[in-house]
């Protein structure tokens, strides 16, 4: 099988652990992150506004407390969430994002502090100008704070769940398949229900030489092979 894979364009960062396991981090770019930032800002300023309403009744001292809250909200809100709540502020969680170290490990205090304190630099010259340019230009969508802290923002959720294929007979494939190919057949069985029947048959016809069948029969045969690969008894 030809392997033009490495040069294919994708937004995935691949990491090989010392145990030889390959992890893929699906990096998140400017659009979802900007939306997450907006959501977080709404939450932050909503809370601050509520606090102001309450604390304003206390006069000058209350205003002082509010300023302290403002400081904490500005600088520690993202840090605390990223360290203690699974690497995601509420906004990031809503967009299915999360912050991790570039190696895939959960983000820790120093990294979260650095990446969030350096927001001040990313904000320059105005409205996250540098951050946006750095994020779009760097290979792993890192803004300057991310580059300094060695962190990346990744997509957390796997793509939407797909219903399991209908039950049926299981048949061993007529020829040995490598891992990628086995995965293909399983994907076909899992995602088949999302495709229209004509398209399914069309795809199955591509493997007519493999199954010896065409049309709906080929589809059924491929599903049977997938069930066998998934470990169902023949």
């Amino acid at each position: 099988m030809p392997q033009p894979m490495p040069s294919l364009l994708d937004t995935v960062r691949r990491i090989e652990t010392p145990e030889g396991i390959e992890l893929s981090l699906r990096l998140a770019g400017p659009v979802p992150r900007a939306l997450a930032w907006v959501a977080d800002s709404l939450i932050r300023y909503g809370v601050l506004w509520g606090l102001l309403m309450v604390l304003a009744t206390l006069g000058g001292g209350g205003f002082g407390l509010w300023l302290i809250a403002l400081f904490l909200m500005e600088w520690l809100y993202p840090v605390l969430f990223e360290v203690y709540v699974d690497g995601a502020t509420p906004g990031k969680k809503a967009l299915g994002l999360k912050v991790v170290h570039a190696g895939g490990a959960p983000v820790d205090w120093p990294a979260a502090l650095i990446r969030n304190l350096l927001r001040a630099v990313d904000f320059l010259p105005a409205f996250y100008g540098f951050g946006l340019v750095a994020m779009t230009g760097s290979r792993d969508f890192q803004r300057l704070g991310d580059l300094a802290a060695g962190t990346v923002v990744i997509h957390r959720d796997p793509p939407a769940k797909i219903p399991p294929p209908p039950p049926g007979p299981a048949l061993p494939p007529p020829a040995p398949l490598d891992l990628v190919e086995q995965r293909l057949l399983l994907d076909f069985a899992e995602r088949g229900s999302a495709l229209n029947p004509a398209r399914q048959a069309e795809l199955a016809d591509l493997l007519a030489g493999f199954t010896g069948l065409r049309g709906q029969a080929g589809v059924e045969r491929l599903r049977a092979h997938a069930r066998w690969l998934a470990g169902e008894p023949p």
Binding site: G29, G61, G129, L184
Partner: protein, 520 residues
Amino acid sequence: MRLDAIAVELRPRNAWEATDLGAAMVRRWPGPVYAAWFALAAPLFLLLHLICWNRWWLVPWLLWWLKPLLDRPLLYVLGHVLFGETPDRRQVRRDWPGLLRRQAFAALTWRRFDAARAFTLPVDQLEGRAGQARRQRLRDLSRSGRGPAVWLTVVCLHLEIALDFALIALVWMLLPDFVTVEFSDLLDDADVLGQLWLNAIGFCGLSLVEPFYVAAGFALYLNRRVWLEAWDLELGFRRLAARLARSGRAAAGVLLALGLGLLAIPATGFTADAPPRAAPSAPAEKAPPIKSPCQQRREREAQLARAASPVKQALAETLREPELRICAQRDRWRWRDDDASDAPDHQPPDRTLAQRFAAAVEILLWFALGVFVVLAGWEGLRRAPGALVRAGRRRAAAPATPPVRGRNDAASPTTGLGDDAWRLWVQGQPRQALKLLYRGSLTGLATQYALPVQTSATEEECLRLVAARLADPGLLDFFHRLTRAWQATAYAHRPPDPASARALCEEWPRYFAAGGAWPA
């Protein structure tokens, strides 16, 4: 269009990942993409200035309005480079006129405000659909694809505005000190220069964002098709079939690829809708307030002229001189002067409850600082002299004691160490007993037999040292058994049987001076 020539990894992504893929696409092919952008946008930008001579503020609006046309070359190039071809000049000359003409009217009028413009553009331009077929196609694709596309438009619109401001701020920051320009001056579009300057900034912001916007919309479109038509599976199946055919196992006629015209690239078409862009505000010609300073002054002059007093009339005469007649009113924004608002704050402090509360918080903070300083000092003192004392002790002890020192084992050295060990054993502390024996042995080895036993040596190293340096088979055998018994007890929690323990305790004095110089 050959799917196996596609240069992006095909996999079903969620919509946000797809927009990220769009950014990655521009990053991968910045040359062709920006060449296509500037080839149309830059001449158009200049041309608009010529057309709107002296009405410069129109240019950004018109540019914004024409965005759907500006997007087409971008998509044209992206559609080509995605499949590994870079269109050359000849192709461009052949394709672009049609590309720009097709459905141009619709794109610039009723479709101009389609908020998912970047997402629908590929349907118009690459699939070349129109009318009913287009509507049906968009319905199919839009089911879960349109929402993110609208968000994309909203985000890109704001990013563009943010970048405009960022560019202006950057220029302002980089101005040398002697250029006295307020930040607000850079936003002033009242004169020709300011107008042109803002037009240029707007064009830069547009150029930075628009390619990414089009690419992200295209990626959203591709992603929808990957989901709906399982392109990744098709590609994989083709590869699998090809492999099987090569390996000769597959039957002959391995499937003929259904030439599903996947992407009818050369077609042109369009849809339109641009994100509404913030436009520089038109030159402000505000109606003067009811009593502008000039009006007030004119009234005052009229009063003076009517007055009976000759002095006042002379004054009115003087004010009518041409040099003094000038009265102009200029409005502009400037930052509020914070000094001015300070004045009312200097009131005597009223000791309200809140004030007292604030004072209490302040005292608490000072107290916390004090506690911190004390603790830090204490910790520093504790560490620094401690280190000194330890180092001094080590220096003093070095010449006198052997490298191995028994630590504070709770047995008195007066009676035989073997007896002490046995007593410990009988008390049910086998670990302590063997520890005592073993340490005693090491000390004995160091003092009586003058072996250089290092504190860092492992049990095995000690054993090898004994075997190498001492020619006493009895001692070696004893020490070997002792070491094994100690290791089994210490690391495996398996104490030896009582008989061998007893033997070890009894044999110990035979090799080491009983109760001898085993230091505390």
